[in-house]
Amino acid sequence: MSQQYVHSEALVSTEWLAKNLETPNIRIIESNEDPLLYSAGHVPGAVHIDWVTDLNDQVRRDYLDKEAFEQLMSKHGITNETLVVFYGDKGNWWACYAFWVFQLFGHPHAAIVDGGRKKWEAEKRPLTREVPSYPPTTYKAKERMDYRIRAFRDQVLQHVELQGRLIDVRSVGEYKGELLHMPDYPQEGSLRGGHIPGANNIPWSKATNDDGTFKSIDELRHLYETENGFNPNQNIITYCRIGERSSHTWFVLSYLLGYDNVRNYDGSWTEWGNLVRVPIEK
């Protein structure tokens, strides 16, 4: 019999969600790549948190600050005791990204819906276009703690120089530097193609099954530990192109496998691939 994930409380099933749509003190949050999807239909009672307009600072390439996070929580009726449950499209990329941003502020009660939006829809569970509203709350956030789970470029460079372990979770083509941007959209890309020296390429999707759920803990251990030589005591940095796919892998390592020292480099390839005087590998 397969073992349970190390922090199994951070993962809930679609079945659990269906039974808890009206449970008090739970807030369901949809976070997507496609900004149209929530409006097209969402889990009843779910609020929408958009990674650009809600979670990003609109001036700096950074995240919202303590005050803005408190306001966002208040707007959605979330208290410090609320269990926030994230789901979304694209295999839960943005759900994991939102979960990660919430952890920058140390929100203690948080979970991902295993299989995300894809599984909820495949099971023909209810969707609505009704946008809920909740009474505003008073939320007291801690100051944002970047150092624990977020890596910056200088730290990444130092990590490379110390031959630290990195996981590039992009596709093989991106890792090899064959794919810099989509046709006719060069502004989306980077000046150089390749990967951060020493990084292993483990595409995020290898951690998931076809139905969008996470693989079992045994399969995950085999993937990261047996096949790629990682272990829970290492200091690991994950990255992708802008930090969303790598927050998915960050979640897998930190919560499903219980690794203590995993940081997500949100600058990712759109920063590293354009940086002056940093090394790359192809």
Binding site: A40, M182, P183
Partner: protein
């Protein structure tokens, strides 16, 4: 970016509207188009749709079908199999409502920046590629049918 005058006339009105809208209005309009989307009717194609009609790298599992009429017009249709393919359905409806039944030359004139004009600069690389793939496959079939 291509100039609006590079676009076939039937698309210009729609693109002018999109050029002026706020982000929330853009979503409402796109959703409206998505709701109006009509997939390829049975005489033209039936499930399982042929692989040759499938748009590569499109996660919405979109298919494109083209039919040439006796008076040298092109009718075209789409199918979108992924229930999450709201954007693909919106693009399909916009293209079909504005350009299906026009000439091959008109359809082949659709510039590639149509995706960014309709969906805005926030469109992600993956989604943009898929949507652009719909336009490219449409233009490819149209070119083939003309030759």
């Amino acid at each position: 970016m291509a100039d609006l005058s590079d676009y076939p006339e039937a698309l210009r009105d729609i693109l002018e509207t999109f050029a002026e809208v706020e982000e929330y209005e853009r979503h409402e309009i796109l959703l409206d188009y998505s709701d109006r989307f009509q997939e390829v009717p049975p005489p033209i194609a039936e499930r399982p749709f042929p692989e040759i009609n499938r748009v590569q790298r499109c996660e919405s599992e979109a298919y494109v079908f083209v039919e040439k009429t006796e008076d040298n017009r092109i009718n075209f249709y789409f199918a979108v199999e992924n229930p999450q393919g709201v954007s693909a359905r919106a693009l399909g409806a916009i293209l079909q409502e504005s350009l299906s039944g026009s000439t091959a030359e008109q359809i082949e004139r659709i510039p590639n920046d149509i995706v960014i004009r309709l969906f805005g600069p926030r469109i992600s690389m993956g989604k943009g590629e898929g949507l652009l793939g719909m336009v490219s496959l449409l233009k490819y079939f149209v070119k083939q049918s003309a030759s």
